[in-house]
């Protein structure tokens, strides 16, 4: 146990949790001599400095990915908002162009019964990170955006050539995917 640490801490008012001042280590860093003279106002004590007890012979590497079923579950619970339309003057050009922003919201709370992890902000953030680097997500978003743009263009998705720019982030327990899409429809003449 880190000596000098005052355990238990003092009561802090509810609105004060975010204003925690860093404890004794900070004091120690600035004026030494010992980080053990801690400020007991911090409700969460300093952890001990991490030490290596024994050298590891075999190190495990943990790789996190979205499970195969995860995307099914997540995309079954999407809220979709599409804003966009045809490029001004597009009808007079050979290639008509459409622009849209497709906003996809997946609130983990709504599908919490489908997965094991807690539907909280930490999970949402991690899911967002994993979605960002997952090519399957890119493919699904392309399909989804193509379908929406095809409705705008009153055509089949296969007739559109798509350029996507995707952003993924988390807000609270929701994963937000913003897709800027540019679709080109080659005019079929004759």
């Amino acid at each position: 146990m880190r000596p000098g640490r005052k355990l238990g801490g003092s009561w802090r008012p509810l609105d004060n949790v975010g204003l925690v001042t860093t404890p004794s280590r900070k004091t120690a860093a600035k004026k030494a001599p010992s980080p053990r003279e801690r400020d007991s106002a911090d409700p969460l004590g300093d952890p001990p400095w991490a030490r290596v007890q024994r050298v590891q012979l075999i190190r495990r590497e943990v790789r996190e990915v979205l499970s195969p079923g995860a995307l099914e579950v997540l995309f079954e619970h999407v809220d979709l908002v599409v804003e966009g339309g045809e490029e001004l003057g597009g009808r007079r050009t050979a290639d008509r162009r459409f622009y849209a922003t497709v906003m996809v919201t997946i609130d983990l709370v709504r599908c919490r019964s489908c997965f094991r992890e807690p539907a909280d902000e930490a999970t949402a953030r991690r899911v967002a990170e994993l979605m960002e680097e997952d090519p399957r997500v890119e493919q699904r978003l392309r399909t989804l955006a193509g379908r929406e743009l095809a409705q705008l263009a009153d055509t089949e998705p296969e007739a559109l050539s798509l350029v996507l720019e995707t952003g993924v982030r988390a807000a609270g327990t929701a994963v937000l995917l913003d897709i800027d899409v540019q679709a080109t429809l080659a005019n079929r003449r004759g």
Binding site: T22, R25, A32, P47, A50
Partner: protein
């Protein structure tokens, strides 16, 4: 060959067995090389039974076993038979009526005899070298434990030679030092031992990390940072150094860097208890209360899942603190 306990009863003498002795102390007490003790421990011959965090210590009962083992081996008994004796001794000792300090252990030709001092056998025929009163051993142990540490007082057989031996030695010294603020001598001994390890093997990342922790402990933050970074230069995946760097960022009010550091730790090991704890603390500094709450909950659950002997009082205390903050945050966030 068998073990005999005179005046046996089912009463345990547990109250006699609360002491804990390090490898080094047992080595000094019984004049056995530490290396041999560690070998005995690793091979399960005589294993220290007291666990304090990651480290093991000998109970007084273990001490008796070591002394018996040493005596029997010196008496020329083959290892296999000594092992059998020790096993018998382990089952017999707890059933002896008298407190441990009143016992006497001796070895006859083909058996170890445990008896009470008050009912000492007179028939000493054929006794081997092993013949000691446990009370005397306890007093001796107390003296050895209180002996000051003197540079170079160990025999060459005890002195660490390789980098890793110095590293292990430094850890033992660190445990003995126990971060006692006034014990600057103890601190410099630990530091010296880690530096000796690094002199022999500058690539020993573990030693860089632990020495860095020592420096951080005494407020030498920049030096500590250099040590952690050096550790990562030699072992880029070492989690402890990454945790410490993230913690240093927190100490230095670099909250965003701390958040990034802890996130990196959790990407490498999503179950890292200290990663969740540290990230929660860093997020509380940056206003991310909702996510901090989630990580504190993960920390608390992970601590609860630890086996009892891995949940030391310090960790348990932080778990209680986390629980209290979780309740506060839940109320505040309306969850």
């Amino acid at each position: 060959m068998h073990v005999v306990a005179t005046n046996v009863s089912p009463i345990s003498a547990a109250s006699d067995d609360e002491s804990a002795y390090s490898f080094r102390e047992v080595s000094r007490l019984l004049a056995l090389p530490e290396r041999r003790l560690r070998y005995w421990s690793q091979t399960g011959f005589v294993v220290p039974s007291v666990r304090k965090g990651e480290r093991r210590f000998y109970s007084f009962r273990d001490l008796i076993a070591v002394k018996v083992a040493k005596g029997l081996l010196e008496g020329g008994l083959p290892l296999r038979r000594v092992r059998r004796q020790l096993e018998a001794l382990r089952t017999t000792l707890p059933r002896v009526r008298a407190p441990l300090h009143e016992l006497r252990i001796r070895c006859e030709n083909d058996r170890v005899v445990v008896d009470e001092v008050a009912h000492r056998f007179e028939a000493d025929s054929g006794q081997l070298v092993l013949d000691f009163e446990v009370k005397a051993l306890r007093e001796e142990a107390a003296q050895v434990v209180s002996l000051p540490w003197v540079d170079g007082d160990d025999s060459s057989e005890h002195a660490p030679e390789t980098a890793y031996e110095w590293f292990s030695f430094a850890q033992e010294l660190e445990e003995e030092w126990d971060r006692a603020p006034a014990d600057t001598e103890g601190l410099s001994r630990v530091r010296h031992a880690y530096e000796a390890a690094l002199e022999l093997d500058p690539c020993l990342a573990a030693a860089w990390t632990n020495l860095g922790g020592l420096l951080a402990e005494i407020g030498q933050i920049e030096e500590a940072r250099e040590h952690f970074e050096e550790a990562l230069r030699h072992d880029a995946d070492q989690l402890q150094a990454r945790l410490n760097l993230a913690e240093l960022s927190l100490v230095m009010d670099r909250h965003e860097a701390a958040v990034r550091g802890y996130r990196d730790v959790l990407r490498r090991d999503p179950d890292c208890i200290e990663g969740h704890y540290g990230l929660a603390r860093a997020l509380l500094q940056t206003g991310g209360k909702g996510e901090a709450l989630a990580h504190l909950e993960r920390f608390r659950i992970a601590v609860d899942r630890l086996p009892g002997d891995e949940r030391d009082p310090e960790l348990q205390a932080r778990r209680e603190q986390a629980k209290s903050v979780i309740e506060t945050l839940r109320t505040e966030l309306g969850r």
